[in-house]
Point group: C2
Chain length 226, copies 2
């Protein structure tokens, strides 16, 4: 009955229903207008995400999503030689994988780049000599993501660039150099809502699923539901 | 693939994805294990909720919910003669309506009573001479809800009683004498999680939908997905 929004991505998507996080905020923004389901897989890169596609988005689905956010790259960009190298996917393969994920012509897809890396916090936390994430390297993945979006004519959110426009983004938006603070979650929520609204998917313009209670005549309630 | 939890109720359910609210917390608790959809209708009473049943829970659904929380009564208990009297439903009809909502033998249903009423805040906000809500009256609805749960052998949460066990519950758990503060939302989240867990629906005992990334062999990822 309501259109379905699916959030597909890594830990930043999996954790998007923690207190103040962007998935919950999006659900609230589309309250009584669209449903939101989270398909976030902590630690996953795009190579592993491909194994999930036929399960998460079966071709014969009775109710396919209307909108899907695809939000990978933070793990693909892990540095070879670091403790996280098992998650690494070369940047050209990352782009090819994203292209395979974006496979349905009937679904409104929004590509989201990985956020920037707060190198000091990140590599301090990991306690490794070879850094596991480097901001400039993650930036190359963000660039490929935006490049693909342009080639495919898809809307996209360059979170890597957007966040770095704000002073002290490393501490303001990132909790451990990689995952998001409540303020960082607000940026994602605002950007996703903006991109949805610029397309045909604007919450204020969408109808309520059922009448507001103020429109129900208590002496003849059935009328409002006809 | 994952079991589906549906949250059916009034504004306290509709608002359950605001920052720190119980629906979002529940979604996070069941992350990668169950899906949560919100079906909250601000201002609705059980009489109006009946009009939604065949739309929200069609008999021929391909994917019926595994679990449904039914959380009404705060509006049914509105006082006759007050500005909110249009929402009033007599307490015996409230019980009958709840019984009609609880109509599926294959779904795990949890009945939740309305929270207590913080009369000072509530009637101050409404600015009316005849109070629109009275705590003892709402308590009669809570009693009927628990009575029905016992008759039907359903699990239930007596939120009306539970919240009043804590000192200063009026300000600690209620934002306007009726809706929930983040602390009030925590109580609902904890109680719902407890009741789910006491049945067969315990998040820690449920499998992940796909392997944790630590179980994926980066040299042979396909193996983990077989």
């Amino acid at each position: 009955m309501r259109p379905l929004i699916v959030l597909f991505g890594d830990s930043i998507t999996e954790e998007s229903f923690k207190t103040g996080a962007w998935g919950a905020s999006l659900t609230n923004t589309y309250s009584r207008k669209a449903d939101v389901l989270v398909r976030g897989y902590g630690g996953y890169n795009t190579r592993w995400a491909l194994f999930l596609l036929r399960h998460l988005f079966p071709r014969n689905s009775e109710k396919p999503p209307a909108v899907v956010t695809i939000f990978f790259g933070a793990n693909d960009a892990a540095i070879l030689g670091s403790a996280s190298q098992g998650q690494h996917v070369p940047v050209d393969e990352y782009k090819e994988n994203l292209k395979k994920i974006e496979c349905s012509p009937t679904v409104f897809i929004v590509l989201i780049t990985p956020p920037p890396v707060g190198e000091d916090s990140r590599n301090e936390n990991a306690g490794e000599i070879v850094p596991e994430r480097i901001n400039e390297v993650t930036g190359l993945y963000a660039k490929k993501c935006i490049e693909l979006a342009k080639e495919m004519g898809l809307p996209s959110i360059n979170l890597w660039s957007k966040m770095q426009e704000t002073e002290d983004w490393q501490n303001k938006f990132l909790s451990d150099g990689l995952h998001l603070t409540p303020e960082g979650n607000d940026v994602v929520h605002q950007e996703v809502t903006r991109v949805f609204s610029e397309a045909w998917f604007s919450a204020p313009d969408m109808p309520y699923d059922f009448p507001p209670h103020s429109e129900i005549d208590s002496t003849n309630p059935g009328e409002a539901f006809q």
